[in-house]
């Protein structure tokens, strides 16, 4: 199972991929989907900061289950790539990552 630092790196990878999508030439801040993804990006960035600061109880089965789901969600975003025609799928995946991060942050010791 990932350590806290590995999880911080995993979220970092999701943020970097999200930024690449937000920077795509054919995806503009005038698009509501862009604003939605940008809002999710800010939320994920705050969650990464929170994760860094908190002491997480990471030795439980329930934490491991959430960590496994998080790894899977983060991996599936990489598969979608930067294809803006799949923005619905991208938004869903980043939302799932953010909601799993909320669960992770509930494991504060």
């Amino acid at each position: 199972m990932p350590t806290k630092v590995e999880m911080v790196t995993q979220i970092g990878d999701v943020l970097t991929q999200t930024d690449a999508i937000l920077s795509a030439p054919d995806f503009s801040p005038g698009d509501p989907a862009w604003q939605q993804l940008f809002a999710l990006r800010k939320h994920l960035d705050d969650q990464q900061r929170d994760l860094v600061q908190e002491i997480i109880q990471d030795n439980t089965a329930s934490f491991n289950a959430v960590a496994a789901q998080l790894s899977q969600a983060a991996g599936s975003l990489a598969k979608v790539g930067k294809d803006i025609t799949k923005i619905g799928k991208i938004l869903d995946t980043v939302s799932v990552v953010a909601s799993l991060m909320d669960k992770v942050l509930n494991f504060v010791a």
Binding site: V5, V8, T9, L15, T16, L22, P25, P29
Partner: protein, 320 residues
């Protein structure tokens, strides 16, 4: 005799000489094979310490700059309090981490002196200095243990420092009391896990600092590319002067990206830990040619690993 047999024979001879000399713990000189990895270790450690200091020192700047960029991009009124609220590390927290790396390097250097058969008085003095350094570090870290609100887990750091300091204190006492070589070796071996825990903890913290820097850089790319998109979307494709200004910042941002990829201090700290472990294995096991060649390889790998790190950190200082 071919080259490999000759080298093996030399290594065995060196190991035999080292074993005899260490058994009697006399004044003497080390061999060239051994001096080179130690010099490499010390030079590479200096790069890691410098990189660690830079990475930690920049943490507040990185977070503040990111918040300021966000306010500008989202057309919010400038708010200094929101910017300052993003600070993540205090001067005391920073100094404790850098001092810990410094003390760990000095400890490894003292172990190297022990293995290189430096004069006993010189070795004892060096260990006493390290013991005293860890004692001060331990007191400083204990003051941080109650501090909260920062990015780092101060109680965990403080705990790791206390344990490592206690272990190194026991080694220093064994050397001061001129205990038998086997007893000194046993102390070193018994407490090495504590030392490694501290090195790993600092490596993890540096990785976190690097990740936050990466995220801030990545976010800046979003602000710059999208500011340009918004400008171009204006009638007559916006203001050409503003486009050029944005273009300049975008160019600087692009130039930083390859440097940033090499600025992660964690692999350097990992290599430092491996070189330390190889030295401890050489010193406390049978001082075999195998252990010596592993030490040589680990020190070379450490030196190779930190070279791009040192270059990247130096370049980023003038390009951030």
């Amino acid at each position: 005799m071919n080259h490999s047999q000759h080298r093996n024979s030399v290594l065995k001879s060196c190991a035999a000489v080292v074993l005899v000399l260490v058994l009697s713990f006399p004044a003497g000189c080390g061999n060239d094979d051994f001096q080179r990895p130690i010099q490499q270790f010390q030079s590479a450690s200096a790069v890691v310490i410098s990189a660690a200091r830079q990475s930690l020192q920049q943490m507040n700047d990185v977070e503040e700059k990111s918040e300021l960029d966000r306010q500008i991009f989202e057309a919010e009124a400038f708010d200094e309090s929101k910017i300052k609220a993003k600070d993540v590390i205090s001067a005391d927290e920073l100094n404790a981490r850098v001092n810990a790396l410094d003390q760990l390097t000095r400890y490894t250097s003292a172990l190297a002196d022990l293995a290189a058969l430096k004069a006993p008085a010189q070795v004892t003095q060096k260990f006493q200095d390290v013991g005293s350094g860890f004692k001060t570090l331990s007191q400083d870290a204990a003051k941080l243990a109650g501090a909260s609100g920062g990015v780092f887990d101060n109680p965990r750091f403080s705990g790791a420092v206390q344990v490592a300091a206690a272990g190194i204190g026991a080694i220093v006492r064994a050397i001061e009391e001129r205990k038998a070589r086997r007893e000194i070796e046993k102390e070193i071996r018994d407490h090495d896990a504590d030392v490694n825990t501290l090195i790993k903890l600092i490596g993890d913290e540096l990785e976190i600092a690097y990740q936050r820097r990466k995220q801030a850089e990545s976010e800046e790319g979003v602000f710059l590319t999208n500011s340009l998109k918004l400008e171009i979307a204006k009638p007559k494709r916006g203001d050409p002067v503003l486009r050029m200004l944005l273009g300049d910042r975008l160019r600087e941002w692009r130039n930083r990206q390859p440097l940033l990829a090499n600025a992660d201090p964690k692999p350097g700290v990992d290599a430092m830990q491996k070189a330390h472990q190889a030295l401890v294995a050489y010193l406390t096991a049978d001082r075999s040619p195998k252990n010596l060649s592993e030490l040589l390889a680990a020190a070379q790998s450490f030196a190779d690993r930190v070279q791009p790190l040192g270059q990247a950190i130096a370049a980023l200082i003038g390009n951030s």
